[in-house]
Symmetry: D2
Subunit: 387 residues, 4 copies
């Protein structure tokens, strides 16, 4: 019985290339990268990893391919890509991806460098698969790449359900068993079959409710911002290389932060959940354009200005300004009365959800508790926030 027991999908059958890929160092490393990084500080049960998520994505890809009646080497390549789709993640997943992008110019689903040679390439090639093909699928290229990375990919079908299961919230309103059955290709594009507008909407709704209650919970955002800031201090102040950094596990990053004098206090704060507080928590329309448009360097300068003005240490003020809200699932294709339409053309719900996302958006400025009041005043001034 080559089946792995999973808390979400019950049994996951593992064979072919997947079986050998599971044993690679790159895949086993994902056992040590949490799926929801700092969310566990809010939802203590959310300790699931990118390893089990990857297995889940592979499982749904398998099912989708079966229903789409795609077989042979093309299918095997998709299954490999589904299983490998997260091996490019740094420690703490999304929390470090912007650092890696800025310093290496590489997105987490660009894994050419990992597949070029070494263990993964050996395994793929031993199963007659081309590494470039697999890398392209992970990047969402080509017709079949849409199964792995697009607004209807099996990735989101797994994580919405899995993250809901492990946090305990009832908002993972996705029905993977239905989704994999109603996927179809129309003129080379992935779409949901006739009668599935509500199915498409459910993906959007799950995303919106999970954003509000889990993914963008302020406690998780604060911890994540502290982690990101400290990681940059680590890279700037020690000889830890960016490639080395990108291959760390969660625990290895935490250990590195703890050993470096500058970041040791923040590492201890994270380990013991003594987090910064919100000095500022401001809605979108109250934030001036120039703040929203500021790039990473400019934000770091604003933080330094505030720290200097108030006599604080470097790292004591963090400005957390998310990008403008977007929801990729709004462009999903659905067949309606025989025609392929984009969901946002069909569903009046989409606009509502997009507006709800904007209404939930917040700029945060975080600092240790004793400085919260002074930082609030200074930041409101400096960032020209209306009140």
């Amino acid at each position: 019985m080559n089946a792995i027991k999973d808390a979400v999908h019950d049994y996951i059958e593992v064979d072919g290339v997947a079986r050998d890929l599971l044993d690679t160092t790159a895949m086993q490393r994902l056992r040590h990268v949490k799926q929801l990084s700092t969310v566990r500080l809010v939802y203590p049960s959310a300790n699931h990893t990118r390893f089990e998520h990857s297995l889940g994505v592979y499982h749904l890809a398998r099912q989708a391919l079966e229903h789409l009646e795609i077989t042979g080497a093309r299918a095997e390549a998709v299954r490999a890509a589904a299983l490998l789709h997260d091996v490019g993640h740094g420690p703490y997943g999304h929390q470090t991806e912007r650092i890696i992008e800025r310093r290496l110019g590489r997105h987490h689903d660009d894994i050419d460098h990992l597949l070029a040679d070494g263990e993964l390439a050996t395994v793929l090639e031993s199963h007659g698969l081309d590494t470039g093909t697999v890398a392209d699928l992970i990047a969402g290229e080509g017709k079949l790449g849409q199964l792995v990375s697009s607004d209807l990919d099996v990735d989101r079908m797994d994580y919405l359900v899995r993250d809901a299961h492990h946090t305990g919230v009832p908002y993972g309103t996705v029905d993977p068993g239905r989704l994999v059955r109603v996927l179809q290709f129309v003129d080379g594009d992935l779409a949901l079959a006739e009668g599935n507008v509500a199915t498409a909407e459910s993906l959007l709704v799950a995303r919106a409710l999970m954003n509000a209650t889990v993914y963008r919970h302020h406690v998780s955002r604060i911890a994540g911002s502290m982690l990101e800031r400290a990681s940059e201090q680590l890279l700037d102040g020690t000889d830890v290389g960016v490639e080395e950094f990108a291959r760390m596990t969660d625990a290895q990053l935490l250990a590195a932060l703890r050993e470096f004098e500058t970041t040791a206090p923040v590492a201890a704060r994270l380990a013991e959940r003594r987090l910064y507080k919100r000095a500022v928590w401001t809605e979108l329309e109250e934030v001036p354009e120039w703040v929203l448009g500021a790039d990473h360097e400019e934000r770091r300068e604003l933080e330094a200005d505030l720290e200097d003005a108030l006599g604080l240490e470097e790292g004591d003020v963090i400005i957390d300004c998310p990008g403008r809200p977007s929801m990729p699932e709004t462009h999903s294709r659905v067949v309606v009365n025989g025609d392929v339409r984009r969901l946002h053309e069909q569903s009046p719900l989409v606009q509502g959800l997009q507006a709800a996302q904007r209404a939930q958006w917040r700029l945060g400025v975080y600092t240790p508790e004793p400085h919260a009041d002074t930082v609030q005043d200074a930041a409101t001034d400096l960032l020209e926030l209306t009140e």
Copy 2:
């Protein structure tokens, strides 16, 4: 251990007036009235009853009262009302409520007649409760009546979760454990505490997704329409009285339909799931105002006109024209920045959901399969449907 095991809420503690109410004929009758009437023809697992739902509502009322720190006789009256809130339902619940309203001028939550005397009154009074007070609570009157019947009542917190559990769909996105904890009274009105816009939205979203996939599924609507039509034939063609009708169980109604010659064929169709088909299934904007505005009598005349024109039997054509879509939860009160706001004032999602409801709305005309094509043509003409 006075606790009843429930598949949704685990253990439900039953004591005080609830314990004695459970043993009454009126409550035991609810064991024989399905919660989702004809939905089981689409979702075979949806056989749950109004009895277990009533227990669930009582349970959540208990929890809400505890968190609101309401005790004593007022609380006991609310618990009684919660348990009894559905005893006024006729057979097949919502499917017969319009018949009862038209013929008796009584809504299912108007149960003064049931509480005036008899077994329920005896039990209530033996626990020092006033029957009028309980009847008022069930009708949603007064401050505490909001807990039993309002846009934030514990009724919907139970049924959204329970109906999802028993159908198996993942769309009951409600978190009763959170809702009962964040309810509060502000100036006498029930509201959700600060920080719960998403909690309020989740009620709306659950409603919208359950509407689309469960409550308004076309198979269930067809069967329900057949049942309603046959029930009227039964009341018109036999000496079954309306009060007697209103107290039947599901099975008793089905048996009565089977015994009356006119309705026997439809009763057999329902029992064996040989349903009428959709001859017409038309969106809101394609239906002329005069059709939408037609009252019950006028619709019956239209049906008769179609039957006559096509030489069909009485009951062979059913026009199913739901009211304009509405979502009561859009007026829920939520505390935002210290002020009480209505959800639709605060959440841009509300408009989207309302529009989505309108987009899902359909006028149906149903008939036995052989007549589907001819009925389609005739009905499209007669009802002046645009195409």
Copy 3:
């Protein structure tokens, strides 16, 4: 998408002969026969039906056949048999099967008479299946019949899980996903593959815990005994025929009991849960051999003796004496170190469970509450129960 949503197994794919069988009157009737008959009087959520259970058994048969790599007409016959395996059940399932056996000499899995001609035969033959073959499979005959009816059949894999799900108890310790994967044929006999002693034990354990908490709960046994006794009065005192009786739904039986003057009071008691009480509840070793060995006629005479002696009405005293406890699953075959062994040869747990079953065994004598004390004394004397 020919898949039905099920609360236990998620999506059940329905095609081939199964699709046509579902629409037959015999299958649709199972929507109106509850899986757990009177258990719902203890566990209010347990309203599931033999229809959804039959779908579940069909689903697991499908999966087992796939893993066993059995295809073609043989597999189709097994799937048909799995779906049809319960069409022979009378109203209230097991509660009436002894009546039917006594009066028609037919066990519920003997359905030759149902398959001989009529709708089911027509459907089976239209798919090239032999009705005799399907009937034999349902009776558990032949190698493949073991999948449908044996100590390792898919029937129990479904009902143990489903009954636990719907009652809410956590004792359905069966892992169908594993079981269907480890089934194998060894020398023509169904066995569990190497390494599955605990898997086999889990079936036994689930059975034992479900017996104790659900299947043999005294409230359910009392209601079931009342129903059985009244059914016999119905058959003896009216012109309802046994074949007609055997084809009733639960509600039809209840209606018939209500219409017959003699049984009307008991029908009302059942509908409103005003049950008889236990006058006697005695362990196995305290019951004399001659009572245990008494056949149906003799027990009826003992009941009549008690009724006469105490001046009670016919039907006021019910003696409920279950057969000696047995657990068929103890003979399951498991491969251990390459040899096929019977579970009871391998697992010391089996003896313990059998002894636990004996310890839980009870003889019950039931009567309306006012007579409980006098019946207790008289029955203890008459039945020579030690105390």
Copy 4:
């Protein structure tokens, strides 16, 4: 709302001393100690931590105290003890407890040293609690200590359910909602109320099935043995102190093993799941008394003998000889016919389960794959295993 969302118990209300204890370093450390240590190498979803388990135990203690109507400072002490009951665990929980016992002579529930002074003492005392009292409760002393540590403690009610939930296996057959309701004190001893023999048996059954499928899975035992052996090498070969070791998190231990040259290869093997293989896997009756009775030193000598004889490195052979199987739950007290009895006196199931445990017992000898055959022969000889 001071309630934490938990994937198992839904909302856990946190107030009083518990709220302050949660913020201590000792409690936060448990976020970084997995509940099931190496089991995650078999069940990838089993990443839950002792932190969430501790919250669950606290929650059930709260409920039990409420049903037992125990309030005030005594109850607060029990709640504190329930929350703190695992703070004495070393990294990887049970996997290192024997090392700590041997070297510090201290069991993990002996936490006097942790409570004597420092942060935990400060918090407890600020809530008027005596540290000695809390330490005694954790050690299971006194009447109320039975709630925290005994054969009916809330600890096992949480972990059996939680471990099942997170592995995905269906064998956590425990019903905590019932258990906390039927606990009672009889003559100062904790017992289950009348009518709960099956409830008591379910604890035993859950333990037995979880042992067989999860807790004693061979893959987990191999990884655990490797970890234990390497930990001893670490303590013997470096200046890491035992107290320091006992306070590590899982990741800190893994990092320490990786940094020490001798243990680095094993650390890499554990991180990448390249485990030793079973050279020997032998049943209880085939192992001579002198092997079963060998103490830790003697076993280490046997390992060294094998390594020397085969020219292997230190640490290449691991003898894993569990203690004789025992099931503490067999002594649980249950009220039967008004008397308190021990479960093993009442339930014939107990003997069966104990025998099943003995039948599942295995001595393992593990080694890197290339040496498996030679080690098998040599170990069979040296340990005088019958075959």
